[in-house]
Symmetry: C2
Subunit: 396 residues, 2 copies
Amino acid sequence: MGTQAQSSEPVGSVGIVVPETFRFEEAFALQCGETLDGFELVYETYGELNARRSNAVLICHALSGNHHAAGFHAESDTKPGWWDTCIGPGKAVDTDRFHVVALNNLGGCHGSTGPASSNTATGKPFGADFPIVTAEDWVRSQALLADHLGIERFAAVVGGSLGGMQAMQWAIDFPDRVRAAVLIACAAKLSAQNIAFNEIARQAIMSDPEYKSGNYRSTDTNPDQGLGLARMIGHVTYLSHDGMGQKFGRELKFGDMSRARDVEFQVESYLRYQGQSFSRRFDANTYLLMTRALDFFDPAARFDDDLVAALREATAGFLVLSFTSDWRFAPARSKEIVDALIAARKNVVSAVIESEHGHDSFLMPLPRYVEVFRTYMNRLADEAEGDVAPETPGAA
Amino acid sequence: MGTQAQSSEPVGSVGIVVPETFRFEEAFALQCGETLDGFELVYETYGELNARRSNAVLICHALSGNHHAAGFHAESDTKPGWWDTCIGPGKAVDTDRFHVVALNNLGGCHGSTGPASSNTATGKPFGADFPIVTAEDWVRSQALLADHLGIERFAAVVGGSLGGMQAMQWAIDFPDRVRAAVLIACAAKLSAQNIAFNEIARQAIMSDPEYKSGNYRSTDTNPDQGLGLARMIGHVTYLSHDGMGQKFGRELKFGDMSRARDVEFQVESYLRYQGQSFSRRFDANTYLLMTRALDFFDPAARFDDDLVAALREATAGFLVLSFTSDWRFAPARSKEIVDALIAARKNVVSAVIESEHGHDSFLMPLPRYVEVFRTYMNRLADEAEGDVAPETPGAA
């Protein structure tokens, strides 16, 4: 089952990994009412599934993430997977102890069925016609992947940001299949401000003439400018005010400030570079779809806006982490989740981590963050190996 | 001199006002090294200049402001000037006591010389060729307007946001001509985050194909989409997280959330409306120019980044106000100014006002804000009328 290969990677790396593809051949009804004629999910695994099949961990990705969460695809790769800081031998999610599954979500642009895939009804790419996908749809598709992999119950479902929201949805929708949910830098639903930033990003994409109502692939164009702008907006909001100040301050890239001539601040060229590089590697329709899924996430909605009621049937233990300088998903938003979990008499561990790196903190090797995360995961690994009696669900 | 006319406006309004134009016919050298063959500034005045010419107050506008700060242009107007909450008979800036001067800045798009004006060298609109204008340039052009109006010394130079920055520049550059500087919701220089948001706004405008390298007027087009996006970005950042939450929450405009179909949140349509309406009334090149002036503002730069040194020669008294939920120009940024003023042994009054309205608070009739502002201004009016000895400059 493992896709891990031998390699001479540095200590702490899962080494060279090879993505695999899960093909679901049956009709898959989405929350929006539309139905896909099956789908494919691309995924990677790291570490061995144990004989009791009790040590599997699902990694859910955020807005711009994918299945390549750790390790390298080739010896020549200079950058590892997006969460290599936390996944690997001896790391917070220890691949010597866990069998880690990471996938590209339905609607994604890294190999799973999404807007760039061919629509069997038309023979052309779905483009903007790809149906709306929600966190609930994702969780159901991930459960089908788990069936395929022979994983009845995950030791943990883990994610940051939109990934944490999926972990929460797992605990609510499949209480018997999640032993622990790790929710990092997330919220029980988006605020008006969050929706507003997402909407501006969408407008930037859709108002780019190269977007062509979402059919840019058919016309061999790409809304580079709009997608770049969307990324720039996101990027600024994922960093903190003070963090940006420390990184860039008012440093100039070039120009003569005293004469206000040809001045370019470092932060400007950095942002433009981020925008340009993102629009080369990400799909605009997927970006629209992911931000919509973020906006729509609201598991309490079908419980009369009562988050405690939404969480009542969950049996998982919860780890809830947030970061002091994260203003998109602030500690106050995590506290709302923790308070609801306590009121619902769940087993919850939570910590607010000091950090100047804003929302992006969850991707960084911050010592206290990694230590709290690893300690929690190691206890789960002990339980999975049967050394320790599992937590009593429902103990607050 | 007054442009105020009689009218049956409600109590507290300056009534119907008529803009006037000041024409400066000589060459005006800008900080960037370029020279304008003269310029025009459109302005309004409210209240009578007293015999001693000691009661004049200059109102400096912010990014999207103009000369129409109070009153109405016609009986049929439904909206008064942009700061009518604070300017009028009995208001914080009491037009029964002060002679108020409000202008449209050089580079503006409401009648003063700017990118839409004809370039005498080419006979065409300047467009993107309009030279870079800085806060220092603005202050010098405003001093020429003051000369024209026979105002040797202002009782106060007053502004919020970018307007407050001009008030600070006045106190530094013309110490003998400013009795008090009122700095509301501003900063001694922009942070990297602020510059980043401005740069994204500029990119949104410049990447709009209708921008046409700034020559959209010659081609009879307008970068509506880009300017609208720029405004949306600005608007979200001028509001607070909690304020937006209270105003919009997750209320839907239409759609079926349970099926994730055709959903539109209220905040989305509100923002789009704001963007569209702004792009009809504002000029894209002026927006670029104003955000550049904001980025470049840094009066300490020519004093080896020492703000205390920059303020040392100022003789004005200072009122410095900020708002708790303002995250673009946070209270911490005002505190930097206050600390420098204290270290420079200036006479400074400061207050942090509780508000949920973010940066836009400075435009709102918040009781404590208006009371602090009015009390300070009334003392200045007393001094201007000679009832009270002026403050001793330099007393800390």
